[in-house]
């Protein structure tokens, strides 16, 4: 059984220490603050997902620290963001593999869609690896829509607004699909309404 933690619109710092082996899922939704994930036990499989939607003057400043203290554990962070108007997004991610945490596997991925030139998107995914027998990667992309996808949808009679909404939905649903078994319908509804509101 997976342990599931849902954090919505939180603004305070949180520290999670994992002392028992098993699967854990953390889902961050429009939450800011510093989040420490300390892996203090072997055979932990930790997934951290995030969806961020910024409109108007919203500001998100998020720091995540994936700290591997014991060997043989996995951690996987995947955060997606869509931003428009004058919103700001500042992501500081850190993967730190301590000296004796061999055979650790850690991922970190941040993908952002940018709809406005008044947005400020800052990403700082850091890696600190103090041992050799590990596999760590991070990836980061920020861009606007793929123009070809928009063109394709337009040519299938979907107007600009609908196409954009569909693409935003497709973009964020990559995360939603991964957590939908763990969250209740109310939360999914909440995310859907966020998407609806986003491009108004």
């Amino acid at each position: 059984m997976k342990k599931f933690i849902y954090i919505y619109k939180n603004k305070s710092n949180k520290k999670f220490v994992f002392n028992k082996k098993g699967d854990y899922v953390v889902f961050l939704n429009n939450s800011t603050g510093i989040y420490d994930f300390v892996i203090n036990c072997e055979n932990i499989n930790l997934n951290i997902y995030g969806i961020y939607m910024g409109r108007k003057n919203e500001k998100f400043k998020i720091t995540t620290n994936q700290i591997h203290k014991k060997s043989n554990s996995h951690s996987n962070l995947f955060i997606k963001g869509v931003f428009t108007d004058k919103s700001q997004f500042n992501f500081n991610g850190l993967i730190r593999i301590e000296k004796n945490a061999n055979k650790s596997v850690a991922y970190q991925k941040n993908q952002n869609l940018n709809f406005s030139s008044d947005c400020l998107i800052e990403s700082k995914p850091d890696l600190e690896i103090l041992t050799d027998d590990v596999f760590c990667t991070h990836a980061l992309t920020t861009s606007n829509f793929n123009k070809k996808s928009l063109y394709y949808l337009n040519s299938r009679t979907l107007d600009q607004e609908k196409s954009e909404k569909l693409l935003v939905k497709g973009f964020t649903y990559e995360i939603v699909n991964r957590v939908k078994n763990n969250i209740d319908k109310k939360t999914i509804k909440n995310i859907n309404s966020q998407i609806e509101k986003f491009l108004l």
Partner: protein, 448 residues
Amino acid sequence: MKNTSYKFPKGINENIVKKISHIKNEPLWMTSFRLKAYKIFKNKKNPKWGPDLSHINFNNICYYLKSTESIYNSWEKLPKKIKETYKKLKIPEAEKNFLGGVNAQYESEAVYERVNKDLQKKGIIFYDIDTALKKYPMLFKKYFATLVQIDDNKYSALNSCVWSGGTFLYVPKNVNVELPLQAYFRINSEKFGQFERTLIIADEGSRVHYIEGCTAPIYSSISLHAAVVEIFALKNSQVKYTTIQNWSNNIYNLVTKRAIAYENGKVEWVDCNIGSRVTMKYPCVVLKGDNSKGQVLSLAYAGSNQHHDAGAKIFHIGKNTKSRVISKSVSKKGGRTSFRGLITIEKGAKDSLSYVSCNALIMDEKSRSDTYPKVVIKEKESTSQHEATVEKLGEKKLFYMTSRGIKKETAESLLVNSFIEPVTREIPIEYSVELYRLVNLEMTGAVG
């Protein structure tokens, strides 16, 4: 400058700065520039991030030293390890002496002289920087210290107040320099300075490739190397700057490198760092003009007690600007490599594209590898990508090779060489061969 009767005391103060300027017989504006830089240097603090620089003792450094004044004035007195490396790398005797700082004597001077004449015919100005200041003061003043301002950082300020040696290169409009230019071509002048200053100006439509350094370890008794490099790539021009650095293991190598590319301009930095105790170097490209391009390829190899903190900085300002950063690092025997990058896409830099890829290899558990990238996006119609991986040598590949009768050390150095190949294939063949040998030497302790 040729006056050798001055013996400089250690340490730095206003008088020393004035003295340096006086010996070089510099114009007044340069003297006041140096003094201004000295004040800034005194007040600036070391950066709060990155390697520990608190061990540098500024009072124990001699700030003006002619290359022939090296403490090791004979081959025998050079440290044993350096001598052995020269032998293993099969470096000719004449070059050995020169690289060891023993004496600059070339058998092939005639060849270089001819090259120099060819360059002059094309209108290329290629001098050491002190001569350029005297011969072309207007051209010099227009560009000097405009890209790397004095107060950029503590070490650019230090360089600004005590600089000596380095290269000045001006390529006139529409001239294509086919031959890669190297400091070697400049006869009878200082080739490697501790506080060198390089200024490269590629005028409209020109093309040039400049190479500095060499694969053989360069020994210096001074433990600090703080250089400043400025490159101006004007409209439609292309500049490639290759560095191959292998300082001996006692040196703090702190270099400020910056380039600006105007419309359709292209700047490439190729940066290979092997030696030194601490290296901090972040080649920077400002993509100011529309359609300009920037590329940084870097390679770092950190052995025991070494820390390479290298990276790249790219600023997208013009429309349709493109940049690519590729970084490869290897850390071994307790060495530490860090990648530190900054990509900024400013508002108005429409259709710009940036791509960053860093790969790190860790060879043993004592070593460490870090990645600290930062990406700032202020323009919606832009795309930025960043990826990084940290891993160790593939066990399966090693197993396969050893099962085919290849020794483990040889297999390891083969894999490392193939790992760094995307960078080494960008440098001239003779250098990449030497680099290949050097990596083999570092990996196995033997060549060939």
